[in-house]
């Protein structure tokens, strides 16, 4: 910081400012509440999915369309069979009048790879992660079934399991972040490994990779760091974290 011709702060004031410069964490719960409110305003992402962790509403609408189409296709196949077995048009008519499954939308962030609340997360080999290595889910996640309501606005009124998963992921990565701030690189790497076992394709995978790479650099494991950074770049070529990662592994650009 070069301040041409500016009188500097007095030493004691400067020291005070330095001590107060660290960003204090927001109160618990504020982050998720604000995120929910923002996403309610800006609307769901168009395509759902994405390793950066897009919210699930967009994905849910796509899945609803799929469900509608599948139900219609099924009905088209069942209809002639039902008629031929004398079940009569009444049953079919009732089935046709009842809106197929789209009235019950299950909001999830990712349909495939993420672990649900009911099923414990597994590692890449499918082995369940021991409970001791998982972050306890918030109280709201104790509900045995995911939210299946379809509010008029088309968005969930209650917290969906994906929110809980995001919270659990964030708690794990907060451990890594805190360890990095303490320059405890091994603890940070351990925390990212736990996240990777529990959520190999979680919503915060980019965050995890960035912190893992940083930890590897701090541990002087530069070859691993660079390899991991290369994989990150291949996987997320447009990531906002890429410049930071490239800077961490020592170079403007990865080779």
């Amino acid at each position: 910081m070069s301040d041409p011709d500016l009188p500097p702060l007095d030493e004691d004031v400067r020291a005070l400012v330095r001590r107060a410069a660290a960003v204090q964490p927001a109160p618990p719960g504020a982050r998720s509440r604000v995120l929910n409110r923002v996403e309610h305003i800006v609307g769901p992402p168009g395509g759902g999915g994405g390793d950066g962790g897009s919210a699930g509403s967009g994905g849910a609408s796509l899945r609803t369309s799929d469900a509608t189409g599948a139900a219609k296709r099924l009905l088209r196949r069942v209809l002639p069979l039902a008629a031929s077995f004398g079940l009569g048009g009444g049953v079919v008519a009732i089935a046709m009048q009842r809106p197929p499954e789209p009235a019950r939308i299950v909001y999830v962030d990712r349909p495939s790879e993420t672990a649900s609340v009911a099923q414990p997360p597994t590692d890449p080999n499918g082995t369940p992660v021991p409970p001791s290595e998982r972050v306890p889910a918030p109280a709201s996640s104790q509900a045995p079934v995911p939210s299946a309501i379809a509010p008029p606005s088309g968005r969930p009124l209650a917290a969906s399991p994906s929110r809980d998963q995001l919270t659990a992921e964030r708690q794990l990565l907060d451990l890594a972040r805190g360890a990095l701030e303490r320059e405890d690189a091994q603890a940070a790497l351990d925390a990212t490994a736990r996240h990777e076992r529990g959520y190999p394709n979680g919503a915060l995978v980019q965050e995890r990779e960035a912190m893992a790479i940083r930890a590897l650099v701090l541990l002087k494991r530069t070859t691993e760091a660079r390899a991991r950074a290369d994989r990150f770049r291949d996987r997320f070529p447009h990531s906002l974290l890429l410049p930071t990662i490239e800077s961490n592994v020592g170079g403007d650009r990865l080779p």
């Binding site: 910081m1 500016l6 400012v17 204090q24 995120l35 962790g53 447009h238 906002l240």
Partner: protein, 185 residues
Amino acid sequence: MATPRAASPAVDDSGRHARFRTVFEREFDYVWASLRRLGVHPRDLEDVAQDVFVHVHRRLDSYDASRPIRPWLFAFAARCASDWRRLSRHRVELLGIDTQAADGTPSADALVERLQDADLVVRALDFVDADRRAVFILHELDECPMKEIAEALDLPLFTGYSRLRVAREEFTAAIRRLRPPKGGQ
């Protein structure tokens, strides 16, 4: 919504939302802390933080990823805090940090001392004019170079330095008022 850039696979809705979530997760605490430093009352922080991130979401395509993101985010925070301040009822309150216990890292004494320092700084910042306060926070607390500050806040470089100079005087005077020098009565 924001003006989209030319065709790029990263700027479709889902890609943008994913990027937004990354930014949100990474920088929420920073935005929160900045809003407090900018004088937003704790009871209104969630509302104003929501405004900030709605703007961020809509303008994310305009962010240049080759530049540091915090000054860019701070500009949104400063504008939203300014909007918040326009409500006259907010002007007279002397703000402080609610001393919620953070994560149990250092000793309790050290934590209390750190919170007290942060509280004192926030209260002193309230005596600094709002425009100058933004420059001061970015420069002194976030250690942002003046060139970045000028670009983020859309200021001429000279104006940035001028505001910093006066802000330092105002801030120091406030600190002296709020906390007498050690050894004094």
